[in-house]
């Protein structure tokens, strides 16, 4: 269904202006990516450090990617990133959906006050709790292990509890009551009815958590020390420190670290945009 337009008078001139603006802004937004990819395919430093800069390489040199893969143990980094991202996503989905379900459907004393507490914790700056958390993990010997980066996920995240609660609230209460009369336990109602129904919201949570765990820098920076524990992002940072003038290698590495996020985003972009809209607006 074509929507009737309100903001613009539907004249051709305005359509042309709109498209011109959209297309030129798109080129601006894409340009950095293009620069990243083309630099990564240039042959050697003479081509990179030439003036004026050439946007496109003389010939496409895919050797850079091979060389970058040889220079650093990227596969180990990839393994660590996958472990952290996978476990933290599983943890976030389980713990947040359980809490969200309780806040949305069950009646218990202090529920609304506790939910207010959940929302309040979203306002607490990341750095407030950071130092004691670091000390806690160092006391129990978790420094230089992957654990501090995924174990806390099993204790829920305020942001995702909020997002999922909004979704569970939209499921009619009659469904809950009917299942109860049919003899379902509360936990059965959760995992047989509510959890499957919330699939779109769960997918949103998975994607958002993937992107944030995959791209996290501060956590790995303070918790991981030995190279075989590095994540891809931390590996890229170390690589940058060593090859800081070899921009063809650097951009090839940057490209490789970026691609997984791009793929996940393109698979689930509708869900992401929906999720951001829920947390942003419907408070």
């Amino acid at each position: 269904m074509k929507r009737k337009n309100i903001l613009f008078n539907w004249s051709h001139l305005r359509t042309i202006i709109l498209y011109t603006a959209l297309i030129s802004l798109s080129i601006l937004f894409i340009m950095p990516f293009l620069w990243m990819v083309t630099t990564s395919l240039k042959s050697g430093e003479e081509e990179i450090f030439s003036y004026p800069p050439q946007l496109f390489p003389k010939h496409l040199n895919f050797e850079n990617y091979k060389r970058v893969l040889e220079l650093f143990p990227w596969l180990t980094f990839l393994k660590n990133s996958v472990i952290i991202t996978f476990l933290s996503t599983v943890g976030i989905v389980l713990s947040s959906s359980l809490a969200a379900f309780a806040f949305a459907t069950l009646r218990f004393k202090g529920r609304d006050k506790l939910f207010f507490l959940v929302i309040s914790t979203m306002m607490i700056p990341y750095y407030t709790t950071l130092i004691p958390q670091y000390i806690l993990f160092s006391k129990i010997g978790w420094i230089d292990t992957l654990k501090p980066l995924w174990v806390p996920a099993f204790f829920g995240s305020a942001y995702f509890i909020f997002l999922l609660r909004q979704f569970f609230k939209s499921i009619p209460r009659e469904l809950f009551e009917a299942a109860k009369i049919d003899g379902c336990s509360t936990f059965q109602i959760f995992y047989k009815i509510y959890f499957p129904l919330a699939k779109p919201a769960i997918i949103t949570v998975i994607i958002l958590q993937f992107i944030s765990a995959w791209g996290d820098f501060f956590g790995p920076l303070i918790y991981l020390q030995s190279e075989e524990k590095y994540t891809l992002v931390l590996g890229l940072n170390a690589f940058r420190g060593m090859y800081y003038t070899s921009w063809h290698y650097l951009m090839a590495a940057t490209c490789m670290v970026t691609i997984p996020s791009l793929i996940v985003f393109l698979i689930g972009q509708k869900k992401i945009i929906g999720g951001i809209t829920i947390t942003g607006m419907k408070s």
Binding site: I6, L7, A102, F108, T128, I131, F218
Partner: protein, 308 residues
């Protein structure tokens, strides 16, 4: 009568069960809240009254850290750097986010492709973004100065310049405007179309409708985005850690990019002054709290809430 009391009893026992189950379901979150949020907040306050190099004995020094902090030039300097960044970054991101949302709102053919293009940069890991932009900002061989040169502007040294390093990092933030744009778009779509129709009938042009109808009705969205973006800006870390001095980091050049959280990181993890770092984190928390309260208190002056 007997029946009724039976049901009452049954109901109350069901209620009791539901109550217990409720607590059971949120138990992981409550545990996490105590261990990872509430406990650490209190402990960090406790720590901030101690001198503690992580390997030594903890020493109570009362408000010593806070006294030291208020005579520490780097504390003031890093605050200034961070607020300068926020003052450039937040308005820019809000304006560009709104502009893109307004362009995407008419839902012409291909809108979803444009929306994807504008959104994609914000999902790139920040270390990758920062690395890429160091290269773009390269004074001699970078893309930006090349284009500036083409239109006859001699570009500055960006990340190598004490004057430009913070604005450069702030400008980069515009590239990751995606979430702000999406929330503005959702805000626009929530505005009932009758308002625009009515104004159009009354002869208001696009700019008048934008100024007198769209912007006031969007002000709750702007309010929300202003707070979240400001909080994010005040906690900027990775960009500062990586980009200053064109990849040197650590506040380069000459501490010009010593953001507040970078200074906190240096105190905590380069020098392991956990007590002092805790007092820094508490001051940041207080600053954010006070700013949020001020913004909330003044919001009735500029945020328009529709009365239903």
């Amino acid at each position: 009568m007997g029946n009724r009391s039976y049901f009452m009893k049954k109901r109350s026992s069901l209620g009791k069960k539901e109550r217990l189950e409720g607590y059971l379901f949120i138990l992981p979150w409550i545990t996490g809240f105590i261990v990872f949020t509430a406990g650490p907040i209190l402990f960090s306050l406790f720590l901030s009254f101690h001198e503690w190099h992580i390997f030594d004995e903890m020493k109570w020094i009362g408000i010593g850290n806070y006294k030291k902090l208020f005579t520490d030039p780097l504390f003031y300097h890093s605050l200034k750097v961070t607020f300068e960044y926020a003052a450039i970054n937040v308005p820019l991101v809000l304006i560009v986010g709104l502009l893109l949302a307004l362009l995407l709102y008419p839902k012409v053919r291909g809108t979803s492709i444009f929306r994807t293009i504008f959104y994609i940069p914000s999902i790139v890991p920040i270390v990758a973004t920062a690395t890429l932009w160091i290269w773009i900002y390269n004074p001699e061989y970078g893309l930006l100065n090349f284009f500036l040169d083409k239109i006859g502007i001699k570009g500055p040294d960006w990340l190598y310049s004490t004057e430009w390093v913070v604005p450069a990092i702030a400008f980069m933030g515009v590239w990751t405007v995606g979430p702000t744009m999406i929330i503005y778009l959702a805000g626009l779509e929530d505005i009932p179309k009758v308002y625009w129709d009515a104004a159009k009938v009354d002869g208001a042009n696009y700019w008048q409708r934008l100024w007198y109808i769209t912007l006031p009705l969007l002000s709750p969205t702007t309010f929300f985005l202003f707070i979240t973006n400001l909080m994010g800006a005040l906690q900027t870390f990775a960009q500062a850690y990586i980009m200053g001095g064109g990849g040197e980091g650590f506040g380069a050049p000459a501490n010009a990019s010593l953001f507040y959280c970078l200074y906190l990181y240096e105190q905590g993890w380069s020098w392991f002054n956990m007590g002092y770092a805790s007092s820094l984190s508490w001051i940041l928390t207080l600053i954010i709290l006070v700013l949020t309260i001020i913004i909330f208190k003044t919001s009735n002056k500029w945020v328009y809430y529709e009365r239903s």
